[in-house]
């Protein structure tokens, strides 16, 4: 390495790292190596799945909704052929294996909210989630607490996220299963007239696309919630 052109200050520019080998890091490597050696999966299969896990996030889903809000024809495509609509925002549900990941690829549906109908998604069985287009699920989505209670008391659980829906708004909880993944297309909020797609994308947070929040002018981050212990949920 030369010092030529190396005039920046590493102390200021490099993000700090944990400079210690942790047991968990060692355990992850040990498990992976043993699985590979036993022929359960190959290093290449693991690398592809890890790359997939690293590149997914909620942005394509936000863009899909923003574009659907702006273009009626695209919205029709979103509702009639969500896999084709996903491709237009850069998500191929068949990636990375040619048939998707085992726990993801199947059928995908976009649930359209109206002023009188609100959707929220869950997976009561495990933690199925539309990962290719929405990224990895948040921790609370995986908890037995959310999974059990949202189907029984949706209005109350949504209120725990700070989402208070009037009684006249019907709430539909869509339960994912082995063959179906869902995401929510919320109603475009007031105050966004004349906005560009990029502006709309910013307020379409992950939580809005799960259905535990509504898009709102000025709100660009997810709700922060206390994760309740899930040992003996009500």
């Amino acid at each position: 390495m030369t010092s030529e052109g190396h005039d920046h200050d590493h102390d200021r520019t490099a993000a700090p790292m944990v400079d210690e080998i942790t047991d968990f890091e060692v355990l992850e490597i040990a498990l992976r190596e043993l699985c590979i050696e036993k022929g359960i999966f190959t290093a290449e299969e693991h690398r592809r799945m890890t790359e997939f896990a690293e590149q997914i996030g909620p942005t394509p889903a936000a863009r899909l909704v923003a574009r659907a809000w702006l273009e009626p024809e695209y919205k029709e495509l979103v509702l009639s052929d969500p896999l084709a609509a996903s491709k237009e925002v850069g998500v191929d549900w068949l990636h990375p294996t040619g048939f998707g990941t085992p726990s993801d690829f199947t059928a995908f549906h976009v649930l359209e909210d109206t002023p009188a109908l609100h959707h929220v998604i869950v997976c009561t069985l495990c933690s199925c989630y539309p990962r290719p287009i929405l990224g990895n699920s948040p921790e609370w989505y995986r908890t037995p607490n959310f999974r059990r209670r949202i189907v029984r008391w949706p209005r109350q659980v949504l209120a725990e996220f700070g989402l208070y829906l009037p009684e006249e708004v019907e709430i539909r909880v869509e339960d994912s299963n082995q063959k179906h993944r869902f995401m929510v297309m919320p109603v475009r909020p007031e105050g966004t007239e004349g906005w560009t797609e990029d502006q709309l994308v910013e307020i379409l947070t992950r939580d809005c696309l799960i259905g535990v929040a509504l898009p709102k002018v000025g709100v660009t981050t997810n709700a922060v919630t206390e994760t309740r212990p899930a040992i003996h949920p009500a």
Binding site: A15, P16, M17, V18, D19, E20, I21, T22, D23, F24, E25, V26, L27, E28, I29, A30, L31, R32, E33, L34, C35, K38, G39, I40, F41, E45, H46, R47, R48, M49, T50, E51, F52, A53, E54, T97, T101, P102, S103, L125, C126, S127, N136, E139, R142, P144, Q178, A230, I231
Partner: protein, 123 residues
């Protein structure tokens, strides 16, 4: 659905090397605070996701350990044996526990490999 009797025996099995890891408690929140790191999740998290996906896709894992079984055991173990661990540490240790209980890997070879990996990383 799961057989609750089987689930109970999975939870009742104590696995020494995993118990030691829990006790040493090098969880990400603590380590990140110690070194002033702001990443919300540890660097091995996506690789763990990769292991879970690769396992779920594998035709080699016994029928009894489907993706749904794995997730159910992860929930059960995270709520009991490993309730002191946060996510994703609980996911990682629960996965190790499930693989050991099912005999996919054995305790001696895990201990040996843990030592070998640590020696390699510290060399």
């Amino acid at each position: 659905m799961n057989n609750s009797g089987n689930m109970r025996s999975v939870e009742q099995t104590t696995i020494a090397p995993l118990a030691t890891i829990v006790e040493r408690n090098q969880v990400w929140s603590r380590m990140a605070a110690k070194y002033g790191v702001v990443n919300p999740v540890p660097p091995w998290k996506t690789s763990l996701d990769g292991i879970c996906d690769a396992l779920d896709q594998s035709g080699c894992v016994p029928e009894v350990f489907s993706a749904v079984d794995r997730r159910n055991e992860e929930d059960a173990l995270s709520a009991t044996v490993y309730s002191d661990l946060p996510y994703p540490e609980n996911r990682l240790v629960a996965l190790a526990h499930s693989l050991l209980v099912r005999g996919v890997i054995d305790e001696a070879e895990l201990e040996e490999r843990l030592a070998a990996v640590r020696a390699r990383l510290e060399s």
